[in-house]
Symmetry: C2
Subunit: 271 residues, 2 copies
């Protein structure tokens, strides 16, 4: 089963649109991880195990592993753990890759073969041939940046290109031309609900990955009302810091579970 079908099945099965983001920052870990050489893996495993029942997807952010020597081996163990224990929950590698074809092929190998992710986030700026090596893995998901959650999203993404903003042109191009195998999705920040509405209007029921609730200030109600499909799905609403660091005491895993369940329920209230 490909990424998109796995995601749709999980939305139903778990009754959840919550994506649990795994951005492990050792400076914020509970004390018990201080001398743990495998802290990145162990902390993320504990959080994943505690939150799995509330998650429609897991999203490890590779930068938080790549900043450390040996980080990639821990990321590999983590994704192997997730794939083994939670085969119904898709794993999105957040990597925002994008390069010329021959290099993109190496990055696709990194994400899909080496790390075994179900999907990867990608930057569309370099155009179609930079996406092809990823798209050709038609059982994997390609999640392209469209309108991001940060303030700088306004700098270039909103520039007018022939009567519509660039992010909308990108959404339209991907939906119409790049999604021939039905394995595309888009990143749209929770912090821009009107832009989310405009994107939903042009991409049909394409899944949208929504960062920016919690620490970045995005509003859940606005996200669901502007982004959900008619059947009340279509979204992977990501939360990272609010779940991972709900407590830095001994109850960090239970606190993460409570935060995940609460956010899942808050999302469901507006569906």
């Amino acid at each position: 089963m490909g990424f998109i079908d796995k995601l749709r099945a999980r939305w139903q099965q778990a009754d959840s649109l919550l994506c649990v983001g795994l951005d492990p920052d050792p400076a914020k870990f509970p004390d018990r991880f201080v001398d743990d050489d495998d802290a990145l893996f162990n902390f993320c495993r504990d959080i994943s195990d505690a939150t799995a029942e509330y998650a429609c997807a897991f999203k490890p952010q590779i930068a938080y592993f790549a900043a450390h020597n040996g980080g990639e081996a821990q990321l590999q163990r983590l994704i192997a753990h997730l794939n083994a224990e939670y085969p119904d929950i898709p794993v999105i590698l957040d990597a925002k890759r994008g390069d010329i074809g021959s290099t993109a092929q190496q990055y696709a190998c990194e994400a899909f073969e080496r790390f075994g992710a179900d999907a990867v986030t990608l930057n569309p700026y370099m155009g179609r041939d930079s996406a092809d090596p990823f798209l050709q893995y038609n059982d994997r998901g390609c999640i392209f940046l469209c309108h991001t959650s940060n303030p700088g999203a306004r700098d270039f993404q909103e520039l007018d290109v022939g009567g519509e903003p660039l992010y909308l042109r990108i959404a339209r191009t991907i939906a119409r031309d790049w999604n021939t195998d039905g394995n595309c999705a888009l990143v749209v920040g929770a912090t821009y609900p009107q832009e989310l509405r405009a994107i939903r209007a042009v991409v049909g029921d394409m899944p949208l990955l929504i960062p920016g609730v919690g620490a970045q200030g995005g509003d859940v109600q606005a996200v669901v009302e502007n982004g959900a499909t008619a059947d009340g799905t279509g979204l992977m609403i990501n939360a990272s810091r609010g779940i991972l660091y709900a407590s830095r005491d001994a109850d960090y895993a239970e606190a993460a579970a409570r935060a995940a369940r609460t956010l899942r329920d808050t999302i469901n209230r507006w569906r």
Copy 2:
């Protein structure tokens, strides 16, 4: 000495605008590397040692390391070797990173602290705050994608935004607003000489990294004539495959040296 000063000094010292790209693909290696667990490192070290005297910069492409288990450790050893043996030659980590601020900080740590690169390539699509964590390392270089060398560069980069193409708006914004510490540079593909000319006209003497000669078909004369600054510098003209795989026999290192010297001399003929 910061990246840009180191590059300018090296342009003079080596009388070269040639950047040696290190994109190690084991399928193309000479036979002697077949059973070598450190083949990525050993091959790139041999190529670097053979071509150093003709190089104004080295540019390892991280994707070719990240596709393999343990690849990052070999990349670290390679950059440590380059920094120790060739302290006058700047090392550019080709990674095309770009993410929200907190994640970008992790990526900056990856490139500059963990790998010890003098500069990194970045994707500007997410805007200013995604660049800041890199820009704040003001002794390191931030090399932003502007107009890339691949066919898909036309898809979004050339869209008209208020009377000028997007790539030119990005070039102008970076030159005017992002380069306050003078540590910015741009990626401009050799395959688009007219666009290179337009970019040079708006960025003053900002260094330009030029992929796309050789395997991708870019023309050296057109690059130099359209991209060089008045003093005949301003460019890092990259070649990877044409140097790395000049021979796959026992003379691979000598063949790489010959290819590098020939290209350096060809470039100099048009300066």
